[in-house]
């Protein structure tokens, strides 16, 4: 039974980015800047005062236009950014699928990368050796598991990366738009696995531009625009609002 206790809680989270204009790249620029004494940056609020809870076992979709702050939000939850203001609480292990194979090193073999990637996510060597076989089975790269990953096809590379993230068996899986890549067979396999992951009562955060995926997999969705949560509700509701938000742009494009 999914308990109502939140596994992720964001309280008034704000993320500022300092956008630096014309950073002095040469000594001449440096001096001319020193004398003109102008401020050369502005602060950009990527996420503005966002609060929400994610209860245990929920699949939450996050949608919004490009540059709306979705990925920043995920990175805050994944602990990549420490928010400028506000508080983030995450209970339990979290596997970020922010970019497939972010921790892979091209010269290392698949097997070596499984271990390294697991360690980077905070698992122990023992944990990873226990899970190794399941990862290899899911990735289905055959003999290539002992070859350097630079020799992998892009499909094999993605399968291995996805397999590591999902088979470490985290309590929370964070998926950022990565399943847009890969062939249909692979996508189906991934979503099949994500469904099983959900059925075992785990929490999922899914960022996607594919509304079909969000409608199918998420109980709830957040619509983000200009760093604010506009809709927090049922997935269909958020998707409908997202479409209205987009329609002027679509009309303009036509």
């Amino acid at each position: 039974m999914p308990s109502t206790e939140p596994v992720i809680r964001l309280e008034n989270v704000t993320q500022l980015f300092r956008v630096i204009h014309e950073r002095p790249d040469t000594v001449r620029e440096l001096f001319s800047k020193l004398f003109r004494n102008r401020s050369s940056y502005h602060d950009f609020e990527a996420v503005k005062n966002v609060s929400f809870d994610v209860p245990h076992g929920q699949a939450l979709g996050i949608i919004g236009r490009n540059g709306s702050g979705k990925s920043t939000l995920l990175k805050i939850i994944a602990g990549v950014y420490r928010p400028t203001q506000g508080k983030v609480t995450v209970e339990g292990t979290l596997a970020p699928l922010i970019e497939l194979g972010a921790g892979f090193h091209h010269e290392l073999t698949g097997r070596e990368n499984i271990l390294l990637n697991g360690l980077l996510m905070g698992y122990s060597k023992r944990d990873m050796l226990e899970r190794q076989q399941r990862i290899i089975d899911f990735a289905d790269v055959g003999e290539f598991i002992d070859a350097p990953v630079k020799q992998y096809s892009s499909g094999m590379y993605m399968r291995l990366a996805f397999a590591v993230a999902i088979e470490v068996d985290p309590q929370i899986l964070v998926v950022d738009e990565i399943l847009a890549v890969g062939d249909i067979g692979f996508q189906q396999k991934c979503f099949e696995r994500i469904r099983k992951f959900r059925e075992s009562g785990k929490t999922i955060l899914l960022v996607s531009h594919n509304m079909g995926q969000v409608a199918e997999h998420c109980d709830r969705a957040l619509l983000i625009d200009h760093g604010c949560v506009i809709v927090d509700g049922h997935a269909d509701e958020a998707i409908a609002m997202y479409r209205t938000l987009l329609s002027p742009e679509v009309v303009a494009a036509q």
Partner: protein, 258 residues
């Protein structure tokens, strides 16, 4: 400081894996692979021995051993720094995508170079009897200066890797600093080559105490005096304290600058 110990213990497997990765990649696709970690210093020693025993005869007996006893630790120091200074920046992509503790990157650079240093001591140990230089029992004292040097180096790598995130000039400045520092340290010349009235300048060089420990135990077969040992550890911990404090203060902002 306890935080550093706790964190490095917690991530010990990751640090080790990154250090091994570094070495693997360094020797990957070479037929002899890991053997190069031994062969490289061995060939260097061979050349140095030939040059200084036949061509350039200095007044120092077994100059090759005299030199190598401190050149190897110095190489560890300068290579660790050269690797580590870029370590945060080169792992920028990773830092932007995974919540990974930043200290592991400079630490892995130091650990991989310690392995290299330990391996390079093997050919040195073989060279000693080969040149009929006495093999002193003080070799067993080496873990002490090794520890002090590792701590000193770690502190410096924390400082330089953090600074390089903000100013990429740092990695270039470091190369200049290292080459000046090399000549200001009695590595190619003995300590007493410096006139007595300038000796106090040497005493300001924080690496000299630990370097001296290596030369005394390998070449002279003596142990350093207690104040010198103490000074080497004081310098090491000051370096670690300053380096880590600065690193810790800025580490959460690295992600915005890499």
């Amino acid at each position: 400081m306890t935080e550093l110990i706790r964190e490095s213990y917690r991530y010990r497997e990751l640090i080790w894996a990154l250090a091994i990765k570094e070495l693997k990649i360094r020797y990957k696709r070479s037929v002899l692979g890991f053997m190069w970690a031994l062969l490289n210093p061995a060939f260097m020693m061979l050349v140095l021995t030939l040059v200084f025993s036949t061509i350039m005869r200095l007044g120092i007996r077994h100059y090759a051993i005299f030199l190598l006893s401190v050149l190897l630790p110095w190489t560890f120091f300068s290579q660790s720094l050269s690797y580590a200074v870029e370590s945060i920046v080169t792992n920028g992509d990773l830092i932007k995508k995974v919540a990974v503790p930043k200290i592991v990157f400079p630490m892995a650079a130091v650990v991989s170079n310690i392995i290299n240093l330990l391996l390079s001591l093997i050919p040195l140990a073989l060279l000693v009897p080969l040149l009929r230089h006495p093999f002193y029992w003080t070799w067993f004292y080496l873990p002490v200066p090794l520890l002090a040097l590792a701590i000193f180096t770690l502190g410096m790598t924390f400082f330089f890797s953090a600074a390089n995130v903000y100013y990429r000039d740092v990695s270039h400045i470091l190369q200049v600093v290292l080459s000046a520092w090399f000549y200001l340290t009695p590595i190619i010349y003995p300590l007493d080559a410096i006139p007595a009235r300038y000796q106090w300048i040497l005493k300001l060089n924080p690496i000299i105490y630990v370097i001296n420990g290596f030369r005394l135990s390998v070449y002279y077969g003596q142990l350093p005096k207690a104040p010198s040992i103490l000074a080497s550890f004081v310098c090491a911990f000051i370096s670690l304290f300053i380096g880590f404090s600065i690193f810790r203060k800025y580490q959460n902002n690295f992600v915005f600058y890499v």
